[in-house]
Amino acid sequence: MPRPDASHPDGWLFLPPEVEALVPRLLARLAETGGGSPDEVERDLRDRIETLILEGDAEQWRSFLREVTAMVAEYAGEDAEARRVLASVLDDQFLLVRAVLDLEPPDLEARGRLAQAGATPPSSSRV
């Protein structure tokens, strides 16, 4: 079987591993200082990501990225390091997702919000 290319229905599955490894834990840190329950946040995110891997598609993944981006952008706590790493990982996701989907205005807006979060300065050379 040839290597699945970007047009293959599974072609987007190269995206989740780094997010699955980092995002739930780091977002839980933001939730902790933001007043939420970190364990619940982490568990829910892990479940959602696994569901996407098992049942989702590239469009659903992008919707998830937009949603998580909003959580990072709206964070107003003190854990700048977690926010910085999250913003970097998520911005890379928007750059990588272009291998399977064209970016749309909400994606560009999301990137802008990540940049405003102070973690990922816009870089024209990477767009």
Binding site: R3, H8, I53
Partner: protein, 410 residues
């Protein structure tokens, strides 16, 4: 209990890569130069300094239980046979007749009470001593007592039989490091070699690629989600644990417990169950083993595949697969094995597609070497560090390639 070595995050290399280049204040670990995958001088060094000095997997003890049972394997340029003697001893020796150099035995099997060369019927005892030669009176000076197949080292760990043609090499246990207790823990010795309907115990496939292209690919998971999406659905790579020394490593990764949407993967998930004798802690896990230089193992709960690479030329590599199963494997285990084999056919096809591209790419004049990921390609880093230690030709090639790059950019 689990091997005594503490499981560490496999994303944490235990040895510092020894070829690094400063780059804007950061330190990058670079891959071997592209020319290292084609250079004829390096290839000769690899045969003598890597393969002919390493412990090479020859077979499984279940194939060598009775006197006269044998396995064969190539150790670099040296064909080697391992045979159980009438005295119960396991011996490794040259598989080359001392007369006109024909190979004595092929594959695996059972000899009679002696080993006979198929060319002129020189006949050897199971300890390698020449017993007799036809028309013996015609040789002017043949002293049979002085003719003996050269003997090599043989070692058994976890039921796996290894041979080494270098008397000065470290012990098998030292080379395996934490892999030895891991294999014991998994009860690999309690398994048996699966034979096909026509009796074959090995499956071989030739690749028109340098052996290091294939080894590099096997050693890292960085490409897995890109090339093998089915594995992303089947296993939870972020939960991988493992341990290693400079030469060998083991790791294991949990299967996902939620069902895949793919019907074949879902059927497979429903059949996963560990073999009798496997530790309870391995329930729901898939394992991997990498042993210097090119012995790899896929450890499933229902069977184990070994996959061994032998260089047969600069751009020709033979991969040999051996499958280990429980002697009383039931229909469920057989079906799980069939399904995994189907999945692996797909995965191998995907890897061939990738490595073919890499073999072409490393020959590009514009390519020098690449930056490796310290976390996800750390096994490649460690592997290539060992190659740099053993093979002085690599430094020459790197110096040449670096010089050419400097000239090109000046």
């Amino acid at each position: 209990m689990e091997p005594s070595t503490v499981a560490t995050d496999v994303g944490s290399p235990t040895n510092t890569p020894d070829t690094r280049a400063d780059h804007q204040g950061a330190v990058a670990t670079r891959s071997l130069p592209g020319v290292a995958y084609t250079d004829p001088v390096l290839y000769e060094q690899e045969l003598t300094e890597v393969f002919e000095r390493a412990w090479i997997l020859a077979g499984h003890v279940s194939e060598l239980a009775e006197p006269g049972q044998y396995v064969t394997v190539d150790v670099g340029r040296e064909p080697v046979l391992v045979v159980r003697g009438h005295d119960g001893e396991l011996r490794a020796m040259s598989n080359v007749c001392r007369h006109r150099a024909s190979l004595l035995l092929e594959g695996t099997g059972q000899t009679r009470s002696v080993m006979r060369c198929p060319y002129h019927a020189w006949t050897y005892e199971l300890d390698g001593q020449l017993a007799a030669a036809p028309s013996g009176q015609g040789f002017a000076c043949l002293d049979r007592d002085q003719v003996r197949l050269p003997q090599f080292r043989v070692g058994v760990v976890g039921g796996l039989v290894f041979v080494c043609t270098d008397p000065g090499q470290m012990s098998l246990a030292d080379m395996l490091g934490p892999v030895a207790p891991y294999l014991e823990w998994l009860n690999v010795s309690g398994l048996t070699v699966h034979r096909s309907d026509d009796g074959e115990a090995r499956w071989t496939e030739d690749f028109e690629e340098n052996w290091k292209v294939l080894a590099d690919n096997y050693l890292e998971d960085y490409h897995v989600p890109v090339a093998h999406p089915s594995l992303v659905r089947l296993v939870d790579v972020k939960e991988t644990i493992g341990d290693n020394n400079d030469w060998s490593e083991w790791s294991r990764v949990p299967y996902r417990t939620r069902p895949s949407r793919d019907p074949r993967e879902r059927e497979y998930q429903g059949l996963i169950r560990r073999m009798p004798g496997m530790p309870e802690e391995f329930e729901g896990w898939m394992g991997h083993v990498c042993i210097w230089p090119t012995t790899f193992m896929e450890i499933y709960p229902h069977h184990i595949d070994t996959w061994q690479l032998e260089p047969h030329g600069r751009l020709l590599t033979r991969a040999t697969t051996m499958t280990l199963v429980h002697p009383e494997a039931d229909d469920r285990a057989r079906r799980a094995r069939e399904l995994m084999r189907e999945l692996n056919v797909d995965i191998m096809g995907q890897d061939v597609d990738i490595t073919t591209r890499v073999q072409r790419g490393v020959q590009a004049p514009s390519y020098h070497s690449g930056i490796l990921n310290d976390e996800q390609e750390f096994s490649v880093i460690r592997f290539q560090a060992r190659l740099r230690e053993l093979l002085p030709r690599i430094a020459e090639l790197e110096a040449t390639a670096t010089g050419a790059r400097s000239v090109a950019s000046s």
